[in-house]
Symmetry: C2
Subunit: 458 residues, 2 copies
């Protein structure tokens, strides 16, 4: 029997993260004065040890022992050969996925929540604030904070707060506090509610609320934490791709195609970046970040400077953006409802090293059900977007008669998203695509900002 | 760093189940005429290949290759050293658990659902009916049936159906059909609804409904499947304990105490039976099945002959029973709400080879939260009962200054039970214990049945 799960022992876990900033050129984030932001300017928001990591250009960064010890609760994660899916699709392609749903909160998010909680505690921080979309990030940070004895406050995008009540319960089991965003607890939240009392909320607004609560703590013991987008988050997630490389070596296979869903970018980056390094060094790989057609940042928006949040508390970041005031329609993949994209992922797209794809909601769920009924696992709505792309590639391989090796990231399980499957089965879901005019309108917010340079890394 | 997870490779998986019937004496199940039931009498209910397994006294039974292949989706399951819990309790005890929550449906139940679906398909069966309490069994059977192309119909105890809507969704993702029990679709259901239209339902009633639907299919292509209690179910679950033995050998430890929660008995038996064999052969081990104080079968009821279901469709089984018409109070550990207990587990209790414990609901949740905030994993309400017993034992080890080795079964995760945690945090849960008078009343139903002999296996 072909092995289904390629397993690493705990002592085979990577002991360093891969930092892509060593290998690509980047436009710097800009402050309100139009100049590159200094580390000091970020000090009220993040602890200095994480800011240093954010700007570091060292290629390999040591993972602290205490972080490794906690990651071992669920890592190394299995690399799974999707034999039953291959059979269901009758494809000559070999399909592998990295199963990141095995963490206690159920996604890849704790890979960065744990080190972020660690570095905050090392810096003497007592409380961390954050935002969450689908709830994966908020529960991951609550989990991590509970293990390091740090207080955790989560602003959860209202539409997900209402759709996924179990996520809030989960955060509370780990001692976290979760409120719906926009809330009346912050100025940013109050303004959003004044504009539209019935707003579904957005990651942009929730980020503003969390930053505001962190920087307004006069004791100086609170910091903010972001679950995606930033360089140090991508860095922490590279443990996924580094493990996958070691695991694939055991099989003798090397991927022709790499696929990950992309909202803020961290799940995609975590798997892909260590392989992007190979591509920069000459390997031929197709690398696809997959986004929802309802929030088509990489496939429909321009590469610009824009704020990461609605209230413009963040620096200007070089990224593909639908505009920082953009409120995505309330489709179910809450983790993919972000107006922007990680600057590192954006940079790779801008220079053609990776090629974005967009997937509609119904295609995504169809692929999700196919997977559940073959491999047995129920994927998160975010993961189903990657899956739909995998199914496309596997069918293409069949048409071409090619034994391609496809590797994708199983970002999380869908056990707290089952209501979305209910709606899918009862035909309540539809495909959401964005009118061009609406996109054009929402992009006016960055018209007068500086423009990033088109840089080439190779 | 001490290893947290002791992992077996797929090719180290046990290839045979352990059948405890080879090593203990048992009273036979009795038919309506008071004589031992024949295999033929069970043929309308179960496929003959499973009936043969039910009555087999072979010590080792081969696991079919196709079953092994599917079990490998999640097996071998990790044996986890609960280092963070040990630290939180400051105990000299070494605590290990077998993590059965890693299966796609989230519990140990697919260990028997997969072989049962396999044997039914081999026998030409097209549809399987069953009951489910907490929903773990119903989802496990839906999962297994989807992989073997068999139709699946689940009668879910109403109180759980209402408390856990996600379980129904999960079954539907795998193509299963789930209705609340009592339903109006069967005579047994109609009778129960006539007696009490607001009944929370019980496993006993749901079993009656599922058996009735199976035997009344005139095509002969439908059979019934039970997720616990029966000998072949215990058999299939022994893969847990057999794996655990191999894993413990790698650490050099051997358990002093073995703990598992017990509703119908299969989760407890799966871990414990391979060690009971050692105990029969002279090893000193304390083995504790743990039940809820709200349904105290082993600790408060007598060892009798009684029916496994309310409508008396099953043979008379030799077991501890609160009476086949007993409807347990609606506490949250739905998987432990059964009036009886597996005859094999009952036999071991009756001769003192294992020692039952009862745990109250609030102690169980307190232990569950302690676990979630140390080890990170959120346990199912059923599992928290085992945990509370583990915590007691670990504290006792501390008082006695003994480095005991405690092994327990993590039967499932609590991700679809988070509403119960909500209620716990908001002080809506209370301890439920049963008035002696109520127990005495419910036990009248078996007054006139034959009595089992007290047999000694060693």
């Amino acid at each position: 029997m072909t092995t289904r799960k390629i397993i690493l022992a705990e002592d085979e876990m990577p002991r360093q993260w891969y930092n892509i900033l060593a290998d690509i050129k980047m436009n710097p984030p800009l402050g309100p004065d139009g100049n590159p932001v200094t580390p000091e300017a970020l000090a009220p928001v993040f602890p200095m040890n994480l800011i240093e990591q954010e700007v570091s250009t060292e290629r390999w960064i040591d993972i602290p022992e205490e972080v490794l010890d906690i990651l071992r609760i669920w890592r190394p994660s299995p690399l799974v050969r999707a034999l039953s899916l291959e059979k269901a699709l009758d494809t000559p392609a070999k399909i592998y996925f990295k199963n990141e749903s095995v963490s206690p909160p159920g996604s890849h998010k704790p890979n960065t929540a744990v080190p972020q909680a660690y570095y905050n505690r090392e810096f003497g921080i007592k409380k961390i604030t954050t935002e969450t979309g689908a709830g994966q990030w908020g529960s991951a940070l609550s989990f991590a904070c509970s293990l390091f004895g740090i207080e955790c406050k989560v602003f959860m995008v209202r539409v997900s707060f209402d759709q996924k009540p179990y996520r809030k319960s989960m955060m509370e089991v780990w001692g976290g506090k979760c409120v719906a965003s926009p809330s009346s607890e912050t100025k940013a939240g109050q303004e959003a509610l004044e504009k539209d009392p019935d707003t579904p909320g957005s990651l942009g607004i929730a980020i503003s609320e969390a930053i505001e609560e962190a920087v307004s703590d006069e004791t100086g013991n609170t910091r903010y934490s972001l679950g995606s987008v930033l360089n140090h988050v991508m860095l922490h997630q590279t443990i996924i791709g580094l493990e996958a490389k070691k695991q694939l070596e055991k099989t003798g296979d090397y991927p022709d195609v790499i696929i990950g869903c992309a909202g803020g970018g961290s799940n995609f980056a975590g798997l892909a970046f260590p392989f992007v390094l190979d591509k920069i060094n000459g390997k031929e790989i197709d690398i696809y970040p997959v986004e929802p057609a309802g929030c088509p940042t990489l496939t429909k928006a321009p590469f610009v400077y824009d704020h990461g949040d609605t209230a413009r508390y963040t620096p200007l970041l070089p990224m593909y953006s639908l505009g920082h005031t953009f409120v995505p329609p309330p489709f179910h993949a809450g983790g993919l409802r972000y107006h922007g994209m990680a600057p590192t992922v954006s940079q790779l797209v801008s220079e053609g090293l990776i090629e974005p794809k967009a997937i509609t909601q119904l295609d995504a769920y169809e692929a999700g059900v196919l997977l559940a009924r073959s491999e047995g696992l129920i994927p998160a709505p975010e993961t189903t977007h990657a899956l739909a792309c995998v199914v496309d590639e596997a069918r293409k391989a069949k048409e071409e008669g090619k034994e391609k090796v496809i590797l994708f990231n199983w970002s999380g399980h869908g056990l707290l998203d089952l209501m979305a499957y209910d709606k899918y089965f009862s035909n309540e879901l539809k495909n959401i695509s964005l009118p061009e005019a609406e996109i054009a309108e929402s992009e006016k917010v960055f018209e007068n900002f500086p423009k990033p340079e088109l840089l080439k890394s190779r």
